[in-house]
Subunit: 336 residues, 6 copies
C-alpha cells in the first residue's frame, strides 16, 4: 500500500521547520475594549466579567499605564451611562462634550500619543430603549419595534464625526443598520477627514447567546424587543456575506466578525473575499467559557486563550479585540 502524502519529511531540519511555520501572535495585534463610565473616580467591578471594571475617565491611567508599558497599542472605547436621565430616544448625550467617550479621547490622546484610539459607535448605550437605533415612537408605544433606519444612520454618522473630531483614530459602528458605513464616510468626507479616520465595521455581528455578560458591562439592556431584527441569525452564512458585501461597498476599511471563536468559518469566508484586514471580537461569553472552564480545571487558562487566538489567526483574522488583552500582553512579554 503506497501512501505518498507524508507530513514529516518537510519538517525534518530546523530550516525546513522555519519554512513551514506561520507567524506567531504579536502584541500589536491586540485591541483592548474599555468601558468608560460617566461617573468620576469609579472603578466598578463588572459582575459577569470577572477581573474587568467600568472606569472613570480620571482613573484610566491606572488601568493603562502598565498595559502600555507591556506593549498595548490600541484600545476600543465604550461609553457607559449610569444615569438613566441622560438617555433619550436619539442618544443625544453620546457626543456631548462631557460624555465619557469624548472626554476619554481627549485624555488618552494627550497621555498616550502612540496609542491607537478606536471608538465603538452605537446608540444602545445612550437610548432610553436600549436599542442600537432610533425607533418609531408611536409604534414603540404599542410595543412594536419599528426601526427608523435613515434617522438612525444619520445620528450614528454625527456621533462618529464628533468622536473623530475629539481625537478618535478609528470609528467602529456596531449597530448593524443598513447604510451606516456609507453615512459615516459621507460625513467624514464633508469634514475633510475621509483619509484620516478609517471605519472598522462590525460587519458580521450575529444575534448570539454569547453576549450575555456584555450587557451587564455596558448597562445596555433593552426595555423591550430584542436585537435579532438587526443582528444576523447565527446560522446565516448567506446574510453574513451579504452584510460583508454591503459594508465593503459602503467603504469599510476594516471588517470585524463578532463573536469570534465560534464563527471562525465566517472569518475564513470573509478573508477569502476581501482585502482589508479582518478583526475578531472575542466576546464576553467566550471570556466566560474560557475563564470558568479553566477555573473548573479543564485546562490552563493561558494555554487555552493563546490557542483561541492562534485559531483566529489561522482562520484569517489579524486583529484581536479581547478582554484577555492584559493576560496576553504578560504572556507575550514573558515569551520574548
Amino acid at each position: 500500500v503506497p501512501f505518498p502524502h507524508l507530513l514529516h519529511p518537510g519538517q525534518s531540519h530546523p530550516l525546513l521547520k522555519q519554512w513551514n511555520n506561520g507567524p506567531s501572535i504579536k502584541a500589536h495585534q491586540l485591541m483592548f475594549p474599555i468601558f468608560v463610565s460617566d461617573r468620576t473616580g469609579v472603578k466598578e467591578q463588572i459582575g459577569s466579567l470577572p477581573d474587568h471594571y467600568r472606569w472613570g475617565v480620571d482613573r484610566l491611567d491606572e488601568l493603562l499605564d502598565p498595559l502600555v508599558a507591556l506593549g498595548l497599542r490600541s484600545v476600543l472605547l465604550f461609553g457607559v451611562i449610569s444615569d438613566e436621565k441622560k438617555k433619550d430616544r436619539t442618544a443625544s448625550f453620546a457626543d456631548k462634550d462631557d460624555s465619557p467617550v469624548p472626554k476619554a479621547l481627549r485624555r488618552l490622546r494627550e497621555r498616550y500619543p502612540s496609542l491607537l484610539l478606536a471608538t465603538d459607535i452605537c446608540l444602545c448605550g445612550y437610548t432610553s430603549t436600549g436599542h442600537c437605533c432610533i425607533l418609531c415612537e408611536n409604534k414603540a408605544k404599542q410595543g412594536i419595534l419599528h426601526i427608523e433606519n435613515q434617522a438612525s444612520i444619520e445620528r450614528l454618522a454625527q456621533i462618529a464625526l464628533s468622536y473623530a473630531q475629539a481625537g478618535a483614530h478609528m470609528v467602529a459602528p456596531s449597530d448593524m443598520m443598513d447604510g451606516r458605513v456609507g453615512a459615516i464616510k459621507y460625513l467624514l468626507r464633508s469634514a475633510g477627514l475621509e483619509s484620516r479616520v478609517p471605519v472598522m465595521s462590525y460587519t458580521a455581528k450575529f444575534a448570539s447567546v454569547y453576549y450575555g455578560p456584555f450587557r451587564d458591562a455596558a448597562c445596555s439592556g433593552m426595555s423591550f424587543g430584542d436585537r435579532s431584527s438587526y443582528q444576523l441569525g447565527v446560522g446565516s452564512r448567506e446574510l453574513a456575506l451579504r452584510a460583508l458585501a454591503r459594508d465593503v461597498a459602503e467603504g469599510a476599511d476594516f471588517v470585524m466578525v463578532k463573536p469570534g471563536g465560534p464563527y471562525l468559518d465566517i472569518v475564513r469566508d470573509v478573508r477569502e473575499r476581501v482585502n482589508v484586514p479582518v478583526a475578531i471580537y472575542q466576546v464576553s461569553g467566550e471570556y466566560a467559557m474560557l475563564y470558568h472552564a479553566a477555573q473548573a480545571g479543564a485546562f490552563g487558562l493561558k494555554e487555552a486563550v493563546l490557542e483561541s487566538l492562534v485559531c483566529a489567526q489561522r482562520a484569517g483574522a489579524s486583529i484581536f479585540i479581547t478582554y484577555f488583552t492584559p493576560l496576553l500582553l504578560q504572556a507575550l512579554a514573558q515569551n520574548k
Copy 2:
C-alpha cells in the same frame, strides 16, 4: 448616499423567509460517543465530564433505551481498559473477543438493529505507553518517542477489520499515522468488506488543550512524551489541508475535524475541498466550557449548545459527535 444592499426586503413575506432559511438540525445528525468499560456492571462517573459515565457492556441498555426512543441513530464506541495488565506495546487486547468494543458491538447489533455502530480505532486505550501508535522499544527506554509507522498502521488495520467483523458499520481511525486509512481499506478489501464498511477519518485532529477531560474519561494518559508529534499544530492550516489530501487519497469516506467549535474555519476549508460528508467532534473541553459558563450564569445551556451546532452546520459540517447528544435529543423532541 445610496446604499443598495438591504438585508430586509428579501425576508418581507413568510414564503421569502422560507426561501432564505437553511435547514435546521435533525436528530439523525447526532452521533453519541460512549465509553465502554472492560468491567462488568459498572456505571462510573467521569469526574471531568459531568453527567457522563463509563459503562459496563451489560448496562448499556440502561443508557441507550431512552436515547434510541428519543431518536438516537448512531453511536461512536470507545473501549476503556481499567486493568493496566491488559495493556502492552502492540495493543493486543484491543480486538480480543472479550475486549469491550467487540462485546458491545455484538450486544448493540442485536438490541438496536437500526442504530449505526461506529467505533473509534486507536491504540492509545490499549498500549502500555498510552500512545496512539507502536513505539520503538529501544528508543522508548531512552525516553525518545520514535514511531514505528508501518507496524502501527498494520495493527490499526487489524483492529478495524476485527471490529468490522464483530458488527461495526463504520470504523473511525483517530491515531493520525500516515497511511492508516489506506491500510484499513486494503485489509477490508482483502476480506470482501470494502463496500460495506466505510471509514470516517479523524482527518484534522489538532494537538489542542481542549482534550484535557477526555483523557480522564478514556483512561488514556501517556506515560511519557505527548501527542504533538503526530497531531496537528493548532495554527497549521497547511498541515490540516495536507492531512485532508492524504486521507482522501487513501480513500476516506467521511472526514472529521476535531476539536469542532474552535476549528470551524477548518471545517469550511474541508467542505470547500471535498465531497464527502464532514463531521465535527465537539470535544470534552468544549463540553466543559459550555457547561461551566452556563453554570456560572453566562447564558442558558440549551441555547448555547444549540448555537454551537448551528455554527458547525453553517461552517459545513453535517454530522455532530457530541456529549450533549442526550440534551439535544430532548430539545429537538420538544421542538417537534
Copy 3:
C-alpha cells in the same frame, strides 16, 4: 492496482444514505407564470404552449383554486394586451388602474391571502414597438433601434411602484436595461416600500432561440429589430457575470437565470458568487422540448420534468419558475 476512491461504502447503511442525500424538490419552490388578459371572461388557448391559456382576471379563480389547494405558494403575473390601441411608445397602459396586472393583484390579494404575488416588470407587452424599452422615436422611424436608457428605467420604476402599491409582494424586471434595479429601488425607497417589496432581477437573460413560444403567449412580438442588443449573447459567460455584478450592486434581492435548463453552468456561476436565492425560468422552448419529446415516446414526461428541476437544484437554484407547475404540484402531492 489500488483504487482508493470508492463511491459505495459511504452509502452502505440507511443512515449513511440519509447523510449523503440532498434535499428533494418542495412545492413551495415553484412559481407559476400566469398570462392575464385585458379581456374579460376569456380562457384563450396559447397555440404554441399546449395546455396553457390567457386568462381574464374574472376567471383566475378557476385556474388557481385547485392549484392553491395542491400547495401553490407563488405566481408570476404577465399582462397581455390584446387591444393594440392601448399600446404606445411609453407603455402608458401598463400601470393604469384597469390594466390586467393591477386588477389581478387586487383580486388575488383578496382571495389568496398567503399566496406570494410577483409581477413581471417590462415594457414589451405595452409598447407599440414590442420592445422592452423606450426607443428614440426619430431613429425608430429610420429603422434604427436606439434605446433611451434613462427614460426606460424611470418608466420601469414607475410601473414597479404602481404594482407594489396595488399589492405585489415582489417585482421582477425582465427588460435588461442598465440601472433598472437601482431605479426601482430608488422609487420604492421614496415611497417607504424599500423593505417590503424585494426585487427579483432577470439577471442573466440570454438572447435564446428557446423563447419562441413565449412571444405567442404574451402577444409581444417586435415590430422591427430584435432583443439581441439588450439581452445577452448565448455564449457570453463574461457578460452574464458582469450583469450579475451590476444587478447585485444595484440591490437585487433575488436573481434569475433565463432560460434555465441549458444555462445551468451560469446558475452554478451565479450561486458561487452571490448570497441571494437564485431562480431559474424554465422557458417556453424548454417546455416544448420536454412536451414534444415525451409525446414522441422518448421518455415519460413527469420523470423528465422532475429530472430537469433536480438538475436545476443541483446547479444551485432554489426557486423554479415553470409552466409545468400544475403537473409538478400533482406529482409532489402523490409522492407525499
Copy 4:
C-alpha cells in the same frame, strides 16, 4: 441614481467587440458516435433516433466519405450485436477478431488515416444480461444485481487493450465501475502503449431518463435490474465530483459529462477542477428534444442545435460528442 456597470461601452468599436468575443465552434471539436453492426451490408434505421442508422462495417464508407470531406475529424465507435447467441456473462465476443469494433477500426484506420478513432469500452452491448459489468451468477439467478467489480474492470481492460492494438487512438470506458481507468492504464502500460493511447473517461455519467432512445440504437436493454446502482443519481453533485477525483487519480486523459445539456453545471464544476479537456455527450434524449420541438415549430433546428453547443462551450467543454455532427458540419461549412 448612479449605475456604473454598463455593458455597452466595452463593445462600442469593432476592435473592442473582437476583444470581447470568445472562440466560435470549430469542426474539429465534433466527435461523431457511430453504431457498427455485426451484420454485413446493413444500414438499419434506428426507430427512436430519426436519421440515424446501424451500419455494417462494409458500408461505413458510404456514411463517412461525405462527412470526412466536410471536415469530420473524429468518431466514437459502438459495437451492436444483433445475434443474442454471441452474448454471454463476460462479454467474450467484444474483442473477438470479427467483432464489429475491431473490424471497423482496421477498415477506418486504412481509409481515413487522419481520422481519430475512439471506441466506447463497455460490456453492456455484449453481455447476456445487458449490464455494463460482470454480475455474480448465483445472485443474478435470484434476481439480485451483485457487481463483480474486480472481474469487470479486468475484462474492460482486456477489451481496451485489444481495441488499442486493433488501431484505436483513444479508448472511452462508459461502464462506471470503480477502478476501470486505472486497470486500463495498467494493461496499456504492460503493453508499452501507455503514452500512445489516452483514456477518455465517462466520468460523470448520470442515471438519466434522457438515454431512452440510445438503448434502442445499441440493442442494449437490460434483462433485469437497472443501471442506477452504478450510474450517478441525477441530483448528486457530490458523487459526480468524487467520480471525477477518482478518474483523475486513476489517470484519465480526457473526461466526459453525460448527458451534456442538462448537466452543464457539472461541466463547469469539472472544468474548474481539472486541467484535461472536457467532453460532453449530447445524448439521444437531447437529440429527441431538439428534433421534435423543432418539428413542432417551437424553433429552428439548426439554430437550436448551435445554441446547445455554444452553451456547452461556455460551460467549459471543448469536445462535443453529438448525433447532430452531420448537420453541424454542414452548417459550419456554410458559415465559412
Copy 5:
C-alpha cells in the same frame, strides 16, 4: 510504484494536440504606445528606450503607415511637452486645441479610420510639479506632497471628455487617484458619450523601479517627492485587489496591470475576479531588460519577447501594450 498522471498520452495524435493547444498571439491584441511631441517636424531619439522616438504630429504617418500595413489595430497616445512654460499646477495645456494629443487624434482619426485610438489620461506630463495630480500649493511650498484628490479627478475627467470629443475611442487614466474612473464616467454620461467611450483603467499600477526609462521618454520627471504615495507598493497584493474592486465599482470597462511581466500573478488574480478584458503594459524597464540581455547574447530577442507575451496571455491578459509592437507585427506577419 504506480504513477497515473502522465502528460504524454493526451497529446499522442495531431487532433489531440489541437484539442490541448491554447490560442496563439494575434496582431489585434497589440496596442502601441506613441509619444507625441508638442514640437512640429521632430523625430527625437529617446535615449533610454533604444529604437523609440518622440514624434511630431505631422510625422506620425511616417511611423504608422508601415505598422498599419502590418496589421496594427490600436495605439495609446502620450503627449510630450518640451516647453516647460506650458506646464502649470492644473495641467491646463493638456486639453488645449493645439496640445499634441487632440491634434494627433484629429490627424489619426482621419488617416486611419479603423485604428482604435486610446489616450493616456494623466496630469504628470502637463503639471509643473511633474506629479499625476493637483497638489496643495501651500504644502508643496513646504515640500509636503498633499494631494487634492477631488480637484484632481475633476480635472482628469475634463481632459478625458475633451479627448473623447476630439476623437478618442477609449480613455485610459493612469493617475491612480481614488474616484477618477467614476468622475470620467459621470462627465461622459453628461455629454451623452457613456456608451461610446469606454474607460481602460490603469488599475494595478505599482510603484516599480522598472519605469526609469519612461520618464525620459515622456519628459515627466518630478520636481520633488515621488509617486509612491499614489501608486501601489510592489508587494501589495491586497491593495492591488482593493484598487481593482474600486475601479470596477466605478465602472471600468477594461483593466490594466502595469508593469506586466513581473506582475503576472496580479494578472491572474485580476482575471479570476472580473469579467472585463485585462491588459498588461510591458513597461520601459522590461523593454530594457529584454533588449540589453539579448544584446549581451543571453538569448534571441524575438524569441524572448514572444515568450514574454505568451506568458502574459497564459496569466490571463488578452491585450498587450508594448514597445515591441513593431518587432512583433513583423514576427507575426512572417509566421503567417
Copy 6:
C-alpha cells in the same frame, strides 16, 4: 459621484500601516545555487553568468565562509563534469564517490553543520547526450529522441538515494520525467530515509529561452534534440497544473516554479492549490536581464533585484533560489 473605495484611511496611523504590511524578505528564504566542478583547485569564471564561477570542492570554503557569516542558510548543489570521458548513457558517474556532489556534501556537512544542503538531481550533467534522461540507444543513433522513462526514473532515484546517504538534507529532481518523485520516495523509504529527506520537485519547469546562460555554467548542452519534449510549453498553464497534481500525488514535499519572474501567475496558481511551501528558481536569463539592464542604466541593480523577490513573495513563493544571493545577503544585512 460617491467613491467609497479609498485606499488611504486604512493606512493613516503607524499602527494601521503595520496592520496592512506583509512580511519582508528574510535571509533564511534564500537558497544559493553552486556549481561544483570535478576539477580540484579551480575557480572558473562562467562567461555568461557574470560574477559566478565553477568551484573545486577544495575551494568551496572560500566562497561560503563569508556568505554563511552573512546569514546564508541553504545551498543547491550542481555537479559539473569537465571531463567528457566520464559521461555515458546512464550517467553512471553522478553518484560515484569522487563525483563532485557527494564530495561537496561530505565537505559542507562537516564545515557548516547548520547549512541546509540540497542537491539538484538530474542526469543531464552526466550523460553523453546531455539529456536529462536515459534515451533509447538505437533510436538516438537515428537522431530520434525516445525517452526510456522507467529506466530514467530508477536511475534518478538511485542518485537521489546516494546523495541522501552522502549527507544531502533535501533532493531536488529537475528532470521532468513522469513518476520520478514517486520513484525517489520509494527508494528513500526502502532505506528508512523517507521521513528525513524531503523532495523538492522542479514541478513547473518550462521550456524557456531564459535558460541560455545556465547551460554554459553547467556544461550541459545537448548533442542533439532539445528538452521541449519533457519540459513544459511556455503557454501551458494546463500542463503545469497537471504536473503539479502529478508531483503532489507522488509525494513532493516542496514544489518549485522555474523560471521564476516571468511565471509568477503559475506561482499564484500553485499556491492556491497546494499546501506545501513554494520555491522559485530565478534563472540565469533573469539574472542576465536584471544585470545587463542595470549596467545600461535602466535602474539600480539592488533595487530591481529586491523588487523581483518581493514580487515572487507576493505571488506566493516563500523560497528563492537565486544567483543574486550574495548581493541580497549584503543588502539585507545592511537593512538590519
